[in-house]
């Protein structure tokens, strides 16, 4: 064919970017599939995924150990890693869009601090609960508390920064910092009254880990995280519009208040669930949106699903490193994400802004 179509210069860029973003989505799905398989295949025991698959295909019975390692340890851990990674990355992306601030993160509005305070309370004061209540929640006292802590702090934040149905993002940012500081101080008091053993629990909880993955946790987190992810396509246009500023976004017909409310609830749910099941895992929420904006466009329609995919893949990769690097012992995953994430974040900053000047 010798027919060629002249594409006007000013139209070619967005089309090109959309194609690019779609191509990236395909690549990220492949990446997630690959990291998932690797995650199932690697671990401290000699259990081989490929051997087990071959056995299953041939209709042979798996050994009890292999069955437990694959289905009760690695598989729930894989699911939890995907849920937590996607939640953290999507929360970070929504926050950055909402606040039009590339440094925004669930940590900044006190959601993580509130969840953390509740978790610490559960560790330190859990023994004071009546036995009936303790038996009811069992080992899940800490995650359940963390979840409600995240929700509670978001609700307080929302009340504080909403006047006559109008939420001020600036007030919320400041209130979030104040709430975070308050939660930090209250946590400090609890750390002070904690005994030696509780202190050690607190240290390890703060570093985050997927080691406690169980099907119960996966089942508890799944509906919350899925609901949060399902909402994101509906706020993508709003977040794009907000990039122009609230007033301008309102003028082009974006229901600014609804977008803000939905975004905040989404972040509270996703972060609360993630903190609840895995403790403190940093840098996924801040690094993932930056990487994606560097790779493609800042359009939230593609940014949000891509962030979920990349966040899940990165967390699975970090978890694999945490599991095998000092096996049979294991590193807390928060350490791995910080060690890997912080230099990447610095590199992004340098690449974006060239030389840093003071």
């Amino acid at each position: 064919m010798s027919l060629s179509i002249e594409v006007p210069q000013q139209l070619s860029l967005p089309v090109d970017r959309r194609v690019q973003a779609r191509r990236l989505t395909v690549i990220l799905i492949a990446l997630l599939a690959a990291t998932s398989l690797l995650s199932l295949a690697s671990g401290a025991t000699g259990t081989s995924l490929w051997g087990a698959l071959a056995d299953l295909v041939a209709g042979r019975e798996l050994s009890r150990l292999d069955r437990i390692v694959l289905f009760d340890i690695r598989l729930p851990r894989l699911c939890l890693g995907i849920l937590v990674g996607a939640s953290l990355a999507v929360s970070g992306t929504v926050m950055q869009g909402l606040f039009r601030n590339p440094l925004a993160d669930p940590g900044i509005v006190g959601v993580s601090a509130g969840a953390g305070l509740a978790a610490i309370s559960a560790i330190v004061l859990g023994a004071l609960l009546p036995p009936v209540l303790r038996d009811l929640v069992g080992n899940y006292l800490v995650p359940v508390s963390a979840f409600f802590g995240g929700w509670g702090s978001t609700l307080i934040l929302y009340r504080v920064s909403t006047r006559r149905g109008q939420t001020s993002v600036a007030t919320m940012l400041l209130a979030g910092i104040a709430l975070g500081a308050l939660a930090g101080a209250l946590s400090g008091i609890l750390v002070y009254v904690a005994d030696d053993n509780q202190l050690r629990d607190l240290t390890f909880w703060g570093m985050g880990s997927l080691a406690g993955a169980t099907w119960t946790k996966v089942l508890a987190a799944t509906p919350i995280v899925l609901a949060a992810l399902a909402v994101t396509p509906f706020i993508a246009r709003g977040l794009n519009g907000l990039a122009l500023g609230e007033a301008a976004a309102g003028h082009i017909g974006i229901p600014v208040q609804t977008v803000k409310n939905t975004s905040i609830l989404t972040v509270a749910a996703a972060t609360g669930a993630a903190v609840a099941v895995s403790g403190g895992i940093g840098f996924i929420g801040i690094v993932v949106p930056h990487l994606l904006r560097l790779a493609t466009s800042p359009d939230h329609h593609s940014l949000l699903p891509n962030a979920a995919l990349l966040g899940a893949s990165l967390l699975l990769a970090a978890d694999m490193i945490a599991r095998v690097i000092i096996a049979p012992a294991e590193l807390p995953i928060g350490i791995v994400t910080a060690v890997l994430g912080a230099p990447v974040f610095l590199w992004i900053l340098l690449k974006r802004h060239g030389a840093i000047s003071l």
Binding site: G43, A44, T45, G46, R64, L65, I68, V69, D72, I73, R74, N139, Y192, A194, D195, D196, N197, L199, R200, D201, F204, S209, A211, G212, A213, T214, R323, I326, A327, P328, A329, E330, P332
Partner: protein, 289 residues
């Protein structure tokens, strides 16, 4: 066939049958993982170290145990890490976890024995008996427990005598991070060993290890400061320690009385605790007969 040879054959058959049935029935655990320094020491003291295949990071004595794989810190064990060494028995100190890991291990039907941690002589005896039952060496454990109990009561008696009705006040300092003194209150291993060695814990106002205000340290007026030996330059560290404002007014600082002992030996509450009592008592009151 003579009566003797008949008796011989019957008795040897009986012995073989008993051994065989014992082996078939008991099948004692041969792949043991220990969690907790004192638990590991007891397994060694019972001569069962050949059955050990891995240990946690707090198990550092005797030295050959450090050659075994380390499954990580007692309170942060990962299920697959522990399973990877294929244990058939886990003997863990009270408080090992997290609970999710223990749940998974029990679902694989790895036998799990929790050893209570109480900071008294009776506590040590209970530990030894618990570990002994777990490794199927009840009689050996009884012998060891009795021996350790005797050693402990002798060491305690000697320490009491050395104190001579004039016990010294001891302040146990866990750390001095950021200039804040983290001291050992009541219901700690430090409190237990100080009392057993004929001393008085200077801090009894709280339980566990907590940071103290400078004034509380000064008021507690310890005669001796006790710390864990972490290697490095003690002379310099002691000089810095004694120049902390909180410590300057105390008798311990004025006389330069700072004791350092190996942490696991001092606070382990295992088979070597009698020797820790003697060591601490001698350091406090000097050599006595």
């Amino acid at each position: 066939m003579s009566m003797f040879s008949r008796l011989y054959i019957t008795s040897s058959l009986l012995i073989v049958a008993m051994m065989a049935s014992h082996m078939a029935l008991a099948q004692p655990a041969s792949r043991i993982v220990t969690v907790g320094g004192s638990v590991t020491e007891i397994v060694y003291a019972l001569g069962q170290q050949d059955r050990l295949i891995a240990r946690d990071s707090t198990s550092s004595y005797p030295e050959q145990v450090t050659k075994l794989p380390d499954i990580g810190y007692a309170r942060a064990l990962s299920p697959e890490g522990v399973l990877s060494v294929a244990p058939d028995l886990i003997i863990a100190i009270e408080g090992a976890g997290p609970p999710e890991t223990i749940d998974v291990l029990q679902s694989v039907q790895v036998a799990y024995v929790s050893v209570p941690e109480i900071f008294t002589a009776e506590g040590i005896v209970t530990k030894i008996r618990t570990v002994g039952a777990a490794v199927d060496r009840v009689q050996d454990a009884d012998v060891l427990a009795e021996q350790v109990a005797n050693e402990l009561s002798e060491a305690q008696d000697a320490a009491l005598q050395a104190a001579g009705g004039n016990p010294k006040k001891v302040l146990f300092i866990l750390s001095t991070q950021g200039g804040r003194i983290m001291a050992g209150g009541s219901n700690t291993a430090a409190d237990g060993i100080i009392r057993m060695a004929g001393g008085i814990n200077a801090i009894t106002a709280f339980e566990g290890y907590k940071p103290l205000t400078d004034e509380a340290v000064a008021i507690s007026a310890p005669d001796v400061i006790l710390m864990m030996d972490r290697g490095g330059d003690h002379g310099l560290a002691t000089k810095e320690l004694l120049s902390m404002p909180a410590l300057i007014p105390t008798p311990a600082a004025q006389n330069g009385n700072v004791l350092r002992m190996n942490g696991l030996h001092l606070l382990g509450f295992g088979p070597r605790t009698a020797s820790a009592i003697t060591e601490l008592s001698r350091a406090l009151y000097g050599e006595t007969n």
